[in-house]
Symmetry: C2
Subunit: 444 residues, 2 copies
């Protein structure tokens, strides 16, 4: 049996009970994290572009738009919620492939589940299996596929979305195989559009393409049975090298979700260990910005390659400035969306601290590690080492940290009581009879 049919059967035939409890729990954390970032992003002005489009184009009111309110059809809901989930670059990362798997997968699952009145446990299982499919496909073509310029979240995301949607739609094996085919032949998204709304659009469009694939397949639409491994299929056409063993090897025994980290900070991931260090210096060593004469850091080479911006001028540039991220880590004790506004990057106190920061590349420092040494006015130096940054697979965000993230972000559009109710419901998602009630709680 080929890779595509193997994956289709795995998605369909894995009983929910066969998914280990810690994996289901991680799936739940992904859903909570997904809701948090989508709720926050729903207040972004660009959300109105999508809701305006949906008003213009119409659609049966079947699935909810997170935060912005109202319901639309399955494809529109998947598009918008996937867009919102990725807009702030604050979702999650499958470290081995740099896929952000939740943003394309969960909106597809949720849209179908809401209309079909699926249980919370069904959604959890579909999410876990969709993420697994998405990441497995990613592993089969990484790194060549990514290095070629593809936004791997968009391209591989369609498989997660189609898998999750297809399971909840009750497809049979051939339909699921075709759904993966219909989805895979829509795989798209190039990195040239990074820095524009078209980047999060990739996640939304992937979610929508997966839903469309599932809906079409259920009605008898045909495709190939070998979208992944075929001679003119996904891997052959979109990558210069591939390894189909990555799809089937240990499927159902080894899971990819533990390699997926929820992002604790809303900025480039290579600065996360530095932020951890600055927060520790602030909270554990009592260092305040006024005391600081200079800050030295030993870092992985990627920090300077990707995030060396001493003087960011707008919030988006701040997200890719390790100096800014470190400064707000010390001053504010965090690096959340509030730390990456245009106002915050122009704040004189933040700018003054940024100027005191010097990072030095050290090839022996791992990508999720760093060492920071602060020299104080009284002549003392204080150092902090980070071995694994928060959010890395070896140091995942705790449930308590995720709760804080959820509350901070959700409060942008929900009252405290609403956010509390939604959070409590999501923590007990596996006991929910009908997820449409959950989605009703996401309305601001």
């Amino acid at each position: 049996m080929g890779a595509t049919e193997t994956l289709a059967r795995f998605i369909l035939n894995t009983p929910t009970e066969a998914i280990p409890a810690p994996i289901l729990h991680e799936g739940k954390r992904c859903i909570i994290n997904y809701m948090a970032v989508a709720l926050y992003a729903s207040a972004d002005p660009s959300a109105e572009i999508l809701t305006g489009l949906f008003e213009e184009e119409g659609g049966t009111a079947s699935a909810s738009l997170i935060g912005v309110g109202g319901r639309t059809n399955l494809q529109n809901a998947a598009l918008a919620n996937g867009y919102l989930a990725h807009l702030e670059d604050y979702d999650d990362t499958h470290f081995p492939t740099v896929i952000h798997p939740s943003a394309p997968t969960i909106p597809a699952a949720m849209a179908v589940a809401e209309r079909e009145g699926a249980t919370g446990l069904d959604v959890l299982a579909a999410t876990v299996l969709g993420v697994e499919a998405c990441c497995r496909v990613g592993l089969s073509v990484y790194p060549n596929h990514y290095d070629a310029g593809w936004h791997i979240t968009g391209t591989c995301g369609v498989f997660g979305a189609a898998g999750a949607a297809g399971r909840l739609l009750g497809l049979d094996e051939l339909q699921m195989t075709y759904a993966l085919g219909i989805a895979g032949t829509q795989a798209a998204g190039v990195r040239e559009v990074f820095g524009s709304m078209s980047k999060p659009f990739h996640a939304g469009r992937a979610a929508q393409s997966g839903v469309l694939a599932g809906l079409l397949a259920r009605r008898g639409f045909t495709s190939t049975r070998e979208i992944l491994e075929g001679r003119r299929g996904f891997a052959a056409v979109l990558s210069t090298a591939s390894d189909m063993e990555q799809i089937s090897d240990g499927l159902g025994e080894r899971w990819e979700l533990p390699n997926n980290g929820l992002k604790p900070f809303s900025c480039g991931v290579v600065s996360h260990p530095l932020i951890d260090a600055m927060i520790a210096l602030r909270n554990e060593h009592g260092v305040s910005a006024d005391d600081v004469v200079s800050v030295g850091a030993r870092v992985h080479p990627l920090v300077l390659e990707l995030m060396d911006r001493p003087n960011p001028r707008v919030g988006l540039e701040g997200k890719f400035s390790h100096q800014h991220s470190m400064a707000v880590g010390l001053i504010d004790g965090g690096a959340f969306p509030a730390q990456y506004t245009d106002d915050r990057v122009l704040d004189p106190a933040v700018a003054a601290l940024r100027d005191k920061i010097r990072a030095t590349v050290d090839d022996s420092v791992a990508e999720d590690a760093c060492e920071v040494t602060v020299t104080l006015r009284d002549g003392r130096t204080v150092s902090e080492s980070v071995t694994h940054a928060t959010g890395a697979p070896e140091n995942p965000m705790s449930d308590a940290m995720l709760e804080r993230k959820f509350r901070t972000l959700a409060h942008r559009v929900l009252s405290e009581a609403q956010a509390d109710e939604l959070l409590a419901t999501l923590w007990s998602l596996d006991t929910v009879d009908d997820v449409s009630g959950v989605m009703a709680l996401t309305q601001g």
Copy 2:
């Protein structure tokens, strides 16, 4: 100025009066041909999959579904009409790139035009400019892009669709540049799905992606300004080699439409010279199947590589059998959809004639040429040479032949009077005040 902005300005700023009359006429022929094949395909059972989906998902009734009746939103109409236009492999071919440019471009133009109440001349201009954009992008990446396994109609089609839709939506230059970006980052479709409904789906999805790109750009959605030429853009990511000069060279002076041939027969294009020869033997030399002892043909190598199927068992296989195509050419005097039904390929008289046909590769024979020699019962031999097959750029279908094709195909769903009225209206499309009236005539 880069290739993308050059193309965006060309699409927007070319006055209709600056398009040469023969090019506009060719655009009109493309629209007539498009309507003919979409009308015929609208009776295919798979059309109900799409109309069923649209009923399920809903949509504002703004644009007509050709043949199947009813109106839906712009994106759905573009998807369905693009699918129908390509379903029978009977549309048109831009010979230098093997793009089928009408199927993704015209449905996008028509959907927007119908809602906006655009004039027929506006639609004609948008079609011509969209096809030009689509083919120019194709030229910039052909043949590497195609050889890699991409279905070039789907991938390059998004630019034709976005260009045509964007012009009719009245985008400004930046919006059009972004529309091309949003469209280009949706470019998709691999050849692995050939032989399934997912192949014509590529044309429909490209049309829809282009419409979506236009609608989003008009509302302020952002993208890159360099989707074509950027370091991580369309050409770099989807092709191993590219030539951006092909986009801008002689733009507005040299047109690609004359290199686009309307298909006279509903089967693989490499068999078309053979069908021409058989029809001439029948109609000009009076040869009948009963007289034939054997048929010999000298052919281009691709004929045997792509279409050597002496015993097709279903209609679809017949479309890729040169023996079947030649046999029906002699017996029926044509190779239309009626010649590629399951019944027709199983007909004993057709099968008997197929068995008498032997083709021999001759490297000196051009792709659109052949020589056929028939040996008759009375001992005579009759030969017929074809230099340029009907439908090739050097030997385009005449307007009269196109009319016959239109009537033959349209009659599947329209009465003779309805087909006549639609055809007459399309021939005078440049004088139509509001194309929504034209689309009303496509309802069976």
